[in-house]
């Protein structure tokens, strides 16, 4: 048996498109497209006309228009006879009836239309009957049925090891003569699993066929092509449209949360535009760890993304540029994890590659899909704060505890005897928290798409609108997006197409506020009917002196008032698209040229009124008239042009399948920054007036323009070979050149090789009934990472400095002259960071397709990590250099399992994934550890581990303090050591003569507490993370639930653990349990102003497990079926309710271990298509 259409493929591309299309239909994942079933086939009506064509071409025509593929036995159905045929709005059934004149019957099985001869056929006429008769032989009959018990016509029944066999008739019956006793019958049918059954002494064998594992038929994007999942050799995971939509997210990254093994995505909180952290298989470098995003073949690039300095990040702005991709438009997200999969992206691939494929048109009548979703977000968690009385009392206690403390002016607010005493005020904390929260903050998303096409052209267009309000005061995100794409088979050998996507997002941001607003002065009022704008200003006159911090040092800047007086808007517009042309001079060969562009502008506008100063805690008065109302405009445009040229060849020679591609790529990225502002004496009076005029005094205006650029060139070849879908080899070589590195270090070569072996196809695996498919894979390869500050190999001239000499005539003012400085420490031999990945894994399908299981071991060794390092300050440079610093190893396991079954009408699927990460720094430059605050990088430790002091409880008595101080000095912190202070452990000291030369510390106590005593306290890279998903369906209902979590990770938490001072921030109620002589067994040190004993140094007291388990989201849907749909004229109608972030369980002692701003969201939505 063969699948005709397959051999008739002219172009690999259209082949893949078709498989892809078929895949969507078979899995029914495209909700918008409805399910392919009998009724669909019956309802589909076709119109076409052919003259002097083969029957085969008529069938092809039907295939293309309906998405079905025909299955038939070549020597049963004559498809090569010529016909003239015309169909007018005719059903498939009728077409087939007329085409074959009733000699041929049909049945629809899954995505296939099975053709069979209508007349009974019980002889083995078509297959040579040459069986030997040495053994006792019998006739075996039986019936072959599909999983639903329906007869399966056209199934092949063969005697194993011979060419004797037959096929089943229209009722699924077969009869086979001369079957030897020891024979094994092989039952096969396309789309079904082949079954082998020993005959024994039976004469009747009925067989129920099982559908082949759907998962293995999935088409997976692998970069510059697609592949069936069963043919993968590398570590690639994919989620598809249906799963993505069920994640209820507005950005593509969040759609992956918890769904893909090896991929960790952080919770960005309620800020609709925040960038989540995405990490694939650990943290492989100290610098830029973000994966490469490739959207419809266009590698994304964001200016300044990998520049670590504050200025670049400020220019880059806070808005996540990926939020511009609407998850509704995505067909699939494919994650390439190991080098054999990512090597094709060479230089940019070492952090993994995320391929986003968006929806394209399909041949057929126009399909209209509409989706709408509306949700609300709320935060229900709160910090529990002390009372005002406690705020005062504890501050006094802290003051009394430190005799050296000289009260500042704000002492008067805490002093009961003072007329300024505020301790009797109302507690406004809750008002402020309420003001910081946005109740029922809406999130909404509406989309419409139309797709369709004919034989030569397919198209898809769509538009969408999304809006999200931050659940905290206050930002708002609006997104308008539209897309259009089309493909045109112009001639037999020429195909062209394009895709274009336009997105416009507007973000309104105000000075943020969140639940930590509770930590500010509790007695600061929020509203004042007599105050300016109805708000209470931050400043007050106290004892005749104006204080901008009118309620003490913890006076808040008034975010409500400031929001009214200040406007900041971000406006992003992104144009993303490509045009391609592909020629196929002969079968199997394609030559394709593509030009892609990604052009976006990110505009920030701000308008600030003078009066905002009234509500600033460090000002308290309006800005002066001369300062005017400010307006500023920043434009960051980012232009990314990619040109590619691809030659691909694929063919099959018997059982040898070969696929080869060669690709050349050229990418140039430019990003330009322009800033204009009116800084003084501006006549502007409102946001609507915003402008900067030519005529205004140049002195009052600012302008800045800056350009950056970088380039990348690459050549890549990939050869894929498989023998009979049993043995696979993939070899890839990529060579990349980058402008980021200096002469002689620009080019890097990144090879990879991978193999796979389908063991389950081997004879020795026969008879394992429970095993449906088993493939083992292994891969090795190198990839690169170039992401670091641009031109770090060069010493750039910093033109910022200004110096003044002479006199301008005004008092004190000189003449300002430009100056220049060299701030860099160029490292000329800087080059690629390379990641060598080894991957070993297997994919198994067992228990009659009910359980799929993948397990992988990976080892990613990063060499020459590009890292900005802190070098001795005495070198005197401004910008820390970038060097190929370190080696780091990440290794671990990844598991993914999905179990699918049903109990009666209840179908369910449970899937889980688990990734383990063991991160180790293997080598550092000069073995020199790097410490940044309490984060440390050191050989043989996990990267950025928590570095701090060890403690041994709290001093209880004066005697204990004296005993300690007689042995151990704590320079600078000894004077006031007292009961209630933390006991620090003397572990190590400065290197001594006895230590080896070049030692960084002496691993012996030295009687002194200092930086040398800090040690390993915990690790910040999770040891494992996991996701758990449940999919259920019952009749018209379906439900999805997702959970995710991380484990084996620690985090510093200072909440409720410090030696509190006073006269400043408000206190958590937890401090009721602090150390006092009356409460000696406490774990919180005593209250003491200014922390003279250094109790608050980060130590083991502060390190907590940050593991968590989160109910990430759920969705419960109802699919309307039958008459309602007909009445409404719809193909599909589904309504759902959904929720996100329903709960989190964690030992971490804060409102949320990931992000305290993560709201709980509930959504309702509807999807329909017609």
């Amino acid at each position: 048996m063969e699948k005709v259409s397959k051999n008739e493929e002219r172009y690999i591309f259209s082949h893949l498109c078709k498989v892809f299309l078929a895949f969507i239909l078979i899995t029914g994942l495209g909700i918008l497209n409805g399910r392919a079933d009998d009724s669909h086939a019956q309802e589909t009506r076709l119109t076409f006309s052919v003259k002097n064509s083969t029957v085969k071409s008529v069938l092809n025509r039907i295939e293309k228009s309906t998405g079905f593929s025909f299955m038939y036995e070549n020597n049963v159905i004559d498809v090569n006879s010529k016909v003239d045929f015309e169909a007018k709005n005719e059903s498939i059934e009728s077409i087939l009836e007329r085409l074959f004149g009733g000699r041929v019957g049909y049945r629809i099985v899954g995505k296939h239309i099975l053709l069979f001869r209508n007349e009974k056929q019980t002889d083995q006429t078509v297959l040579p009957d040459v069986a030997s008769v040495q053994q006792q032989q019998r006739t075996v009959t039986g019936k072959v049925t599909d999983p639903n018990g329906q007869p399966l016509p056209g199934a092949t029944v063969m005697i194993k090891g011979t060419s004797i066999g037959t096929i089943t008739d229209a009722d699924g019956n077969y009869s086979l003569r001369n079957v030897p006793d020891d024979a094994t019958l092989v039952f096969s049918f396309v789309g079904m699993q082949t079954q082998e059954i020993n005959v024994g002494n039976r004469t009747r064998i009925d067989v129920t066929m099982q559908e082949e594992a759907v998962a293995l038929q999935e088409v997976v994007a692998i970069g510059y092509g697609t592949r069936l999942k069963k043919d993968l050799t590398g570590a690639v995971s994919q989620i598809t449209s249906e799963e993505i939509i069920k994640q209820n997210s507005l950005t593509p990254e969040l759609a992956m949360q918890g769904r893909i093994p090896g991929v960790y995505i952080s919770n960005p909180g309620s800020d609709p535009t925040a960038r989540p952290t995405v990490r694939i298989r650990g943290v492989s470098t100290l610098g830029y760890n973000d994966p490469l995003y490739v959207i419809d073949g266009v590698p994304m690039s964001e200016g300044y993304a990998s520049a670590g300095d504050a200025r670049s990040q400020d220019i880059r702005g806070p808005v996540n540029v990926l939020s511009m991709i609407n998850p509704n438009d995505i067909e699939s997200i494919s994650v390439l994890k190991d080098a054999s999969a990512t090597a094709i992206y060479g230089v940019r691939a070492s952090n993994g590659v995320i391929l986003i494929t968006t929806k394209r048109g399909k041949e057929g009548k126009p399909q209209v899909g509409i989706s709408a979703r509306y949700g609300i977000q709320n935060n229900f968690k709160r910090y529990k704060m002390a009372t005002i009385q406690e705020y005062v009392d504890w501050s006094m206690e802290a003051k009394e505890a430190n005799p050296a403390y000289v009260p500042d002016w704000h002492y008067t607010l805490f002093d009961k005897t003072s007329p300024n005493y505020l301790g009797n005020s109302r507690d406004y904390t809750e008002d402020w928290v309420k003001a910081a929260l946005v109740e029922n903050a809406p999130v909404q998303d509406y989309n419409i798409s139309v797709s369709g096409g004919n034989q030569t052209s397919t198209y898809a267009v769509g538009a969408g609108y999304s809006n999200q309000q931050n659940a905290f005061f206050r930002s708002e995100f609006d997104r308008y997006n539209l897309f259009a794409n089309s493909d045109h088979q112009l001639t037999k050998w020429l195909k062209v197409g394009e895709s274009y996507r336009f997105v416009s997002t507007q973000t309104n941001t105000n000075e943020g506020a969140n639940l930590t607003t509770a930590f500010r002065a509790p007695w600061q009022p929020i509203y004042d009917p007599d105050g300016p704008y109805g708000y209470a200003p931050t400043g007050r006159t106290i004892d005749g002196v104006f204080r901008s911090y009118g309620y003490g040092m913890a006076t808040r800047s008034h975010f409500l008032a400031r929001a009214e007086l200040m406007t900041t808007k971000f406006d992003l517009k992104r144009n993303l698209g490509s045009v391609y042309a592909e020629i196929s001079p002969f079968d199997g060969l394609r030559i394709k040229g593509t030009v892609s562009f990604d052009y976006y502008t990110n505009i920030r506008e701000n308008y600030d009124e003078m009066d905002r100063g009234l509500f600033e805690n460090d000002r308290g008065t309006p800005y002066p008239e001369s300062r005017g109302n400010l307006y500023g405009r920043r434009v960051l445009d980012n232009i990314n042009i990619v040109k590619e040229f691809l030659v691909g060849y694929n063919n099959s020679f018997g059982k040898h399948n070969v696929d080869f591609i060669f690709n050349a790529m050229d990418q140039r990225v430019k990003w330009n920054f322009t800033q204009m502002s009116i800084d003084r004496e501006s006549p502007l009076t409102s946001w609507d007036q915003r402008r900067i005029e030519e005529g205004w005094d140049p002195e009052n205006k600012g302008a800045l323009y800056e350009r950056n650029r970088s380039g990348l060139q690459g050549y890549m070849g990939r050869l894929s070979y498989n023998f009979n879908s049993k043995y696979y080899v993939d070899v890839t070589v990529r060579r990349d050149g980058s402008s980021k590195f200096g002469p002689g270090y620009k080019w890097g070569t990144f090879p990879s090789v991978a193999g796979a072996w389908r063991i389950s196809s081997e004879p020795f695996m026969e008879g394992l009934e429970w095993l449906d498919d088993l493939k083992i894979r292994a891969g090795w390869g190198k990839t690169g990472n170039q992401e670091t500050r641009d031109y770090a190999f060069l010493s750039l001239v910093n033109m910022n400095p200004k110096a003044a000499f002479g006199s301008s005539g005004e008092p004190g003012e000189g003449i300002i002259y430009p100056a220049a400085a060299l701030g860099d420490f160029p490292v000329k031999d800087l080059s690629w960071e390379t990641v060598t990945t080894s991957n070993f894994g297997f994919d198994a399908v067992i228990l009659q397709n009910r359980l799929t299981f993948t397990a992988e071991y990976y080892n990613r060794f990063t060499d020459g990590i590009l890292q900005t390092i802190s070098i001795p300050r005495l070198i005197g440079v401004l910008n820390s250099p970038v060097v190929n610093l370190a080696q780091v190893e990440n290794r671990g396991f990844e598991f993914q399992a999905t179990y699918t079954d049903n109990v009666g009408d209840l179908g369910y699927s449970v899937s889980g994934n688990l990734t383990t990460v063991r991160n180790r720094i293997k080598k550092l430059y000069e073995s020199q550890p790097v410490t940044m605050g309490n984060s440390r990088i050191e050989e043989e430790y996990s990267m950025n581990y928590i570095y701090g002091y060890k403690t041994a409880g709290i001093f209880q008595t004066e005697q204990e303090v004296a005993d300690y101080q007689s042995k151990i000095k704590d320079p600078g912190r000894d004077a006031q050591k007292a009961p209630g202070d933390v006991i620090f452990v003397d572990l190590y000291g400065a290197p001594t003569e006895a230590d080896p030369k070049g030692a960084f510390k002496s691993y012996k106590p030295d009687g002194q507490i200092d930086a040398y005593d800090q040690t390993y306290l915990g690790k910040t890279i999770p040891g494992f993370y996991y996701g758990l998903g449940f999919d259920l369906n019952y009749k018209n209902w379906d439900a999805t639930l997702n959970f995710m979590g991380v484990g084996d990770v620690q985090k510093i938490n200072t909440l409720g653990k410090q030696s509190i001072g006073g006269f400043g921030e408000h206190f958590l109620a937890d401090y009721r349990k602090r150390w006092t002589p009356e409460n000696p067994s406490a774990s919180i040190p005593r209250a003491v102003q200014d922390d003279p004993s250094g109790n608050n140094r980060i130590s083991d007291r502060h390190v907590e497990s940050a593991a968590f388990f989160r109910f990430q989201n759920f969705q419960i849907g109802y699919n309307f079926r039958g008459n309602i749909l007909k009445t409404l004229g719809l193909n599909n109608l589904r309504c759902y309710i959904a929720g996100n972030n329903l709960f989190v369980i964690s030992p971490y002692n804060d409102l949320d271990p990931e992000n305290i701003n993560t709201p709980i969201t509930f959504n309702i939505g509807v999807n329909l298509s017609f």
């Binding site: 001639t491 460090d618 040229f645 001239v797 110096a803």
Partner: protein, 510 residues
């Protein structure tokens, strides 16, 4: 027809390949100048030299918070100033290597040295072609780089004592793990460099360049370094050499009025040898931003808010004059009332630089006390007193030395609106050199109060020399934690710098 289409298409593809495979993509260079293409002519060399001067401004920055400026390093340790806030630089007891001011001071000093070092390198390398139009600039530039670097050496010695000596641009990280300097190595190098600078620098600059260092600056600073070294090493030759240097200073004189040294209208006057040229920024000054990263709003003024408690949130981190400096002046000494508000209820009593000042323009100006009034780093009055000290210490003519003190006192008498009898001249017939030395230090305290750390550096070197004992000194600290130990004459080196450098040791005691 079909073939033609195919031909077009193939042409298109090959055009694309041609376009794609240009090498330019990989060889892109940044837009803007690189070191390799810069320092090619006079104006670029000038900009490089100005870049060294610009770094001086970092020592006078505010930086946005009470802890974000280096002023406490030289103001607070002395017995002239104290602060009601707890500050380790004031009470010495909480001082350790994680002190941020210490780290900042160290960082800025070496950044300035690096700028001087690479400019010295560029002057050597590019001299042949970069000074074709104005050959004289080559020497001037070299002299300026040497001078500014030497000033940093001196300051590093004053603050840390043992900070490493960097005399060449470091281009390999491995070369950056230098050991501590020993003894007076830093001063030794400064003295050597200043001798060379004095040969190279011009006598004066044109009006539009006024404020750049001159021969006089170099002689003055060299003499100062010699006196400092001589006082701790007890080396008479240093003093005689210093006197020679001081004598080479020409055309400098005391300004007629004391106040003219702190008045914004009399910058770079006849008494001035070296000033930081504080200025408004080209656009609105933003005290939170520095001038290395932010061209037009980065601060290039001078912060005096620690005398005025500005901006308001610095809280208690203001500095107040101690009773002992108030009492040190004679009643009627103009300098007393000019420098100090004597009202005992006024905490913000230090008025030097505040009385006749002007603010940087823009929103960060007056509110933050960002002044355009130049801090006078080295002035002739300082030189005269150093010269007097050198004379006494080298057993020279006491009457000559006393005459120099009296020049200072005479000017003080003439500084008010009306002539004052106070302070009266010292007795020129005094024969006890020790007494004269005390007069000199007394005069230095009065004349140079609240300026540039003169008082603390003097106390420090005298303690090192064993002339005074600071352990029993009355520092007039408001802080009950106050405790001075011998090792406090050197401040701790930045902790991370020491811990990460196996060749560098922390200063003894920290």
């Amino acid at each position: 027809m079909k073939n033609r289409k195919l031909l077009y298409y193939i042409l298109f593809i090959f055009t694309l390949i041609q376009y794609s495979c240009s090498d330019d993509t990989v060889n892109l260079l940044p837009i803007g100048d690189t070191e390799a293409t810069y320092f090619q002519n006079e104006s670029q060399m000038e900009e490089g030299i100005r870049g060294i001067y610009q770094k001086l401004g970092f020592f006078y920055r505010f930086g946005g918070s009470q802890n974000d400026n280096t002023a406490p390093i030289w103001h607070l340790p002395s017995d002239d100033l104290t602060t009601p806030s707890t500050n380790a630089l004031e009470n010495f007891s909480g001082l350790n290597g994680s002190n941020w001011q210490v780290t900042m001071f160290y960082t800025y000093a070496y950044q300035l040295i690096n700028r001087a070092n690479y400019m010295l390198q560029k002057i050597e390398e590019n001299a042949d072609f970069a000074y074709k139009k104005q050959p004289e600039l080559k020497n001037f530039h070299k002299g300026e780089a040497l001078f500014l670097r030497a000033y940093m050496y001196m300051q590093l010695w004053n603050v840390f004592g043992t900070a490493p000596l960097v005399t060449e641009r470091i281009t390999k990280i491995a070369d950056g793990y230098l050991p501590n300097s020993k003894d007076t190595e830093l001063l030794d190098q400064a003295i050597e460099d200043l001798a060379e600078a004095a040969q190279l620098l011009p006598d004066s600059w044109s009006a539009d360049m006024k404020g750049r260092v001159t021969k006089n600056s170099a002689y003055g600073l060299r003499g100062k370094c010699l006196v400092f070294r001589g006082s701790v090493k007890k080396a008479t030759t240093d003093f005689t050499e210093a006197i020679t240097d001081f004598n080479k200073i020409n055309s400098a004189s005391l300004a007629p009025k004391y106040s003219q040294n702190f008045d914004v209208n009399f910058e770079n006057n006849q008494e001035s040898l070296f000033e930081y040229q504080a200025n408004s920024s080209p656009s609105d000054v933003n005290p939170f931003l520095d001038n290395d990263n932010f061209a037009v709003i980065g601060e290039i003024g001078a912060y005096y808010g620690f005398f005025t408690q500005k901006p308001s949130w610095i809280g208690n981190s203001y500095y107040t004059a101690t009773a002992s400096i108030k009492d040190a002046y004679n009643d009627g000494d103009f300098r007393r009332t000019y420098n100090i508000d004597l009202n005992p209820d006024v905490k913000l009593n230090v008025k030097k630089y505040i009385r006749n000042t002007a603010y940087a323009k823009g929103w960060g100006g007056q509110d933050y006390e960002l002044s355009v009034n130049n801090p006078r780093i080295l002035r002739y009055a300082d030189v005269l007193l150093l010269k007097a000290e050198a004379i006494v210490r080298s057993n020279g003519s006491l009457s000559e030395a006393i005459g120099l003190i009296n020049q200072i006192r005479e000017r003080a008498r003439n500084s008010g609106d009306e002539y004052s009898e106070v302070p009266a001249d010292r007795n020129v017939n005094e024969t006890d050199p020790q007494k004269v030395l005390e007069w000199i230090f007394e005069e230095r305290r009065l004349e140079l109060a609240f300026e540039e750390g003169h008082r603390w550096w003097d106390l420090r070197r005298r303690h090192i020399a064993g002339e005074i004992d600071l352990k029993s000194w009355d520092f007039q600290s408001l802080d009950p934690n106050f405790k001075f130990e011998d090792y406090n004459v050197n401040f701790p080196l930045p902790e991370q710098e020491v811990v990460e450098n196996p060749n560098m040791n922390q200063n003894v005691g920290y």
